[in-house]
Amino acid sequence: MKREAQALLLVLVGAFAIRLGWTDEHLIYVRDWVRWPLIAAGLVLLALAAGLVFSPHGDTEPAPRTAWLLFAPFVVLLLVSPPPLGADFAERSAGTPYRDPGRAVLGLRPLPAGDPVPLAVGDFYVRARYDAGASLIGRRVELTGFVSEDPEGRWYVTRFEIACCAADAIAVRVRVDGADAAPARDTWVRVTGTWVDGSGVARRSGSPAVEADAVEEIEMPRNPYE
């Protein structure tokens, strides 16, 4: 790879990194805090490119052909415009248990005040599973996630939880009972309802469930992951 191509590569990768960090687009891939390291890395790459273009001497050694591969993620970004992880991946990884052996030993706080209480899907799952639903009894909750289904035709309000980036995403889902018809897969919904007594408590009994009063279709939240 020649000098000009190297400079172009550094500019392109740097500009993409800054753009993704600057807009909310990075939230499809990484956690929010990564935006600042991304912008910083982009600035460094632009500075390196500038050094290459404006430096007086030209004895730079050529880069190996593999360097062209650095263009690949950005070509993919342009061609596919990857969506946030959705129903397809959630349904295929549905067998993976979420958060076991759980946060139970760290203690669960009582549910905050409010009716309905907005609750993360993962939080709802953990309260049902490791607290035997004790903190959920008699409370109306509001869960936000996208729609996924199972082969038996039931549907779930679903969310991915990520620790670093989308590569370590773990799906967590809560079955929705009592709603009329399932919205289309991957639709974002806000489900208001109450915990179905006993659901999701035992290890083998499957997902916890919510008896829905209302299902409202919404726009995708700013951060698609929990």
């Binding site: 430096s55 591969l69 650095l70 993620p73 596919v80 990857p82 620790a163 989308a166 590569a167 370590d168």
Partner: protein, 305 residues
Amino acid sequence: MLGGLVLVALIQRWLVPRLDFPALQTWSTIFVAMVLQALPFLVGGVLLAAAISAFVTEDRLRRLTPRSPWLGVPAAGAAGIALPGCECASVPVAAGLVRRGVAPAVAFTFMLAAPAVNPVVLVSTAVAFSGRTDMVAARFAASMATAVLVGWWWQWRGGGVPLLATSRHQHATGWRGFADSARHDVVHAGGFLVAGAAIAAAVSALLPRAVLDAVAGSPVLAVLALATFAFVVAMCSEADAFVAASLTMFSDTAKLVFLVVGPAMDVKLAAMGAGTFGSVFAARFVPVVLLVAVGCAVLTGTVLL
């Protein structure tokens, strides 16, 4: 160049609506995510390596490291505790150290230890395993043992292996050398990082977890399966404990194997190692690290878990 841009625009118009396979989209999301997550760490590691190359004299570095590489290896392992780094950063830093005359065995021990035993990784392991200190202790012990044993092995046996990084002579010093070195490392390691991420994302997106769970019952197969899984999914060491904790079908020892192999060696690191130090190096280093890591993890797991 202009032709290329026109081509991209055309492709975007015509091809994109036809690329609507769910599996391809999942792969692309995970692939881009891995590259974006790694990029700041790669750039950070490259800058640190460039600073070592350009501003730290060989004399000063020699005074900082023990004279004998045999002692330097455990010292480098201990240094890994204090310097939280990600896998992607530690490869260029090791290359920077080797270029500045540090014994390769010492640099490699640091490269293996830094992403595995730093406080950030240990805390995230404790959180993922709900405060189980035995898992944290076992991870620390097995990863440290792996790093030190591989370092000693390299000191004993690795002398004859040519290393690409050492053959590159420094053209300039000061800021000029700093920029040259940083750019050199970005374009060398970056392409390989991308190749590793593409493979790892394909495994994450396409491999059904049921395939893994099928072998969880057999102790030997379970260890081999999770060692392979750790190698091919190439997860960040700060995040892998959360995935390990979700592998509930597997024994604790098998989970430990996953946690010890992943930060030491995976498809992304093997590719970056080949790009930075040469393929001759990778062909010898990668299998040994895998063997030692699995061995240390199984032994530690048997004793501690």
